[in-house]
Point group: C2
Amino acid sequence: MGSTLGRRLPVMADVAKEAGVSHQTVSRVLNDHPNVRSETRTRVLEAIDKLGYRRNLVARALVTKHSRTLGVVSFDTTLYGPASTVYGIEQAARAAGYFVSIVSLKSIDRAGVRDALDYLADQGVDGIVVVAPQRSAAEALADLPLGVPTVAVEGGEAGEVSVVCVDQVAGGRLATEHLLSLGHETVWHVRGPSDWLEAEGRVAGWRAALEEAGREAPRPLAGDWSPRSGYEAGRSLASMRNVTAVFVANDQMALGVLRAFTEQGVRVPEQVSVVGFDDIPESEFFSPPLTTIRQDFDAVGRHSIEVLVRQLEGGPQERERLVVPPTFVARVSTTRV
Amino acid sequence: MGSTLGRRLPVMADVAKEAGVSHQTVSRVLNDHPNVRSETRTRVLEAIDKLGYRRNLVARALVTKHSRTLGVVSFDTTLYGPASTVYGIEQAARAAGYFVSIVSLKSIDRAGVRDALDYLADQGVDGIVVVAPQRSAAEALADLPLGVPTVAVEGGEAGEVSVVCVDQVAGGRLATEHLLSLGHETVWHVRGPSDWLEAEGRVAGWRAALEEAGREAPRPLAGDWSPRSGYEAGRSLASMRNVTAVFVANDQMALGVLRAFTEQGVRVPEQVSVVGFDDIPESEFFSPPLTTIRQDFDAVGRHSIEVLVRQLEGGPQERERLVVPPTFVARVSTTRV
DNA sequence: TCGGATGTTGTTAGCGTTAACAATCAAGTG
DNA sequence: CACTTGATTGTTAACGCTAACAACATCCGA
């Protein structure tokens, strides 16, 4: 039991004196150096235990130049996607023996991302994961010569750095092809904000699937990921005669669409089929339960750390590009016409 | 433009040489020491700019004993509540000039919390915020002599440390009193897991409101916050004859309850009124839109940092207890009988 | 028995910064 | 004009750790 008096915390030298060895021997024990007599080792460990010694990682970082801390830059970790990704990153990082320092951006501008990166670099992180789903954030990675290994999540083509992402285009296709296979003439789309790469990818997949089937692509409706924007898009759609299938770019907006349809007396799936994107925990319990495209955020987080740690510990590597496939989840919001 | 060659990063001494001063003068400029001639200051700043110098915060932390980093321990930051709280904490911390290092716990046991705290203390954080909504986490704070100022969020009575929390009891009362005021004979309750302090508080508020009104409190139904557990509780409730009002301990479970009711042909609010808790962004678009109790997570995060920073910068203080009131949000899932 | 390889420990010198103190110089005071 | 005062700068010594090298004992084969 360490005394709680004003006494200063024990340092390596204190342990050394207690064990009757040099401080360097203590350091060797702590770092599992092979050449320490086992009898000496136990003596040192006992002294550590007795004094309640804890190694000062700051001093260690100063000399080793490694902090075993990774930085994470993300945007609005209140949203399910970013939150889940960051959670996956954090778990994977800890499993790999790293700490995680997080910066959640409020605004999305390039300068903000740059600041965050500088911020982390200053702090001495060994590597950085940037969850950069917006075009502007991805661009900020371009002017990034800061000597710290970096991985982008959802970072588009981002030139210099490795990228881990979900195949959004494939997801858009999955959703659209499913709806077409049910016999729908065409598929409407409520898209995400235009500066989000994910939104673009989903639009592209939707459009490609329609084209391949020889169908006309209607004009997509704009949304901003929020349930409210989905609600507004839903009201527009409900007022049109010929809408029988809608692919909504995320589950939250899909909820809004469902709500608008309910209010307008449009029945799902009897009159209109709806597909979402993300598979948030709630969507299974929407009315009706939502067919959607699942993103494995956990895998994305895990992979991003794998790639980063590989770069950290394996020296300079080829930059990688890792794509996680989305999966289709069938529920009752879609049925054969 | 700093060269990208293998050249080592510039240090204070390099700046000093470039500006023709001592490294200590550079340090003074960086720390806004008053006694530096303005002409010298500009010369130093120019040198810093020219060399692209960035101060090494690790070395600084070693000598000052302050890292300007705060630790945050939380449980499952995938959930809306914790995610929002942590987000609020992070924003407030950054505004106060602190970095944030986060540990998201997967399991809730006491040992896990202890480990996380040690982890952060080792890393040299100046202070710690523990988002400790479970009894076990709160208890882990008891054996916490680690010399680092700590604030608990939702930490119950937690003996030694300051606490910031939402008044859960008041929230439970608000929900229950609202339902009673609509004319319901009694109010059923779907509660959260028993080791969560928040769940207990809501139960207590619900029970108190019923007692004051002289009503019998039915046996609460158990849930685990998930929509699925709400769904199951909802099926039970739907099979009973005499249920006209339900207070559900969070919005996600309320979604499950609504789903179960819809499936069983129980109409909300015509036959049964439902109140949730949290006011997640989705609940306004449930079918029907959910009456709920809003928690200001942002304020909780902000206050916790305020309290912590006060302790950090003002020296040892009285431990504080700050309670944030919840607010009532009326929507269509409740109506007069 | 000796030279060299190997195992084990200690000594010394940083890492890049701030703190404490010393030194210098100009300005004001009696 | 000598003498204190305050502003400005430099010098030196930590902070607590690891790396590099030196020192010594031990063991092996020739």
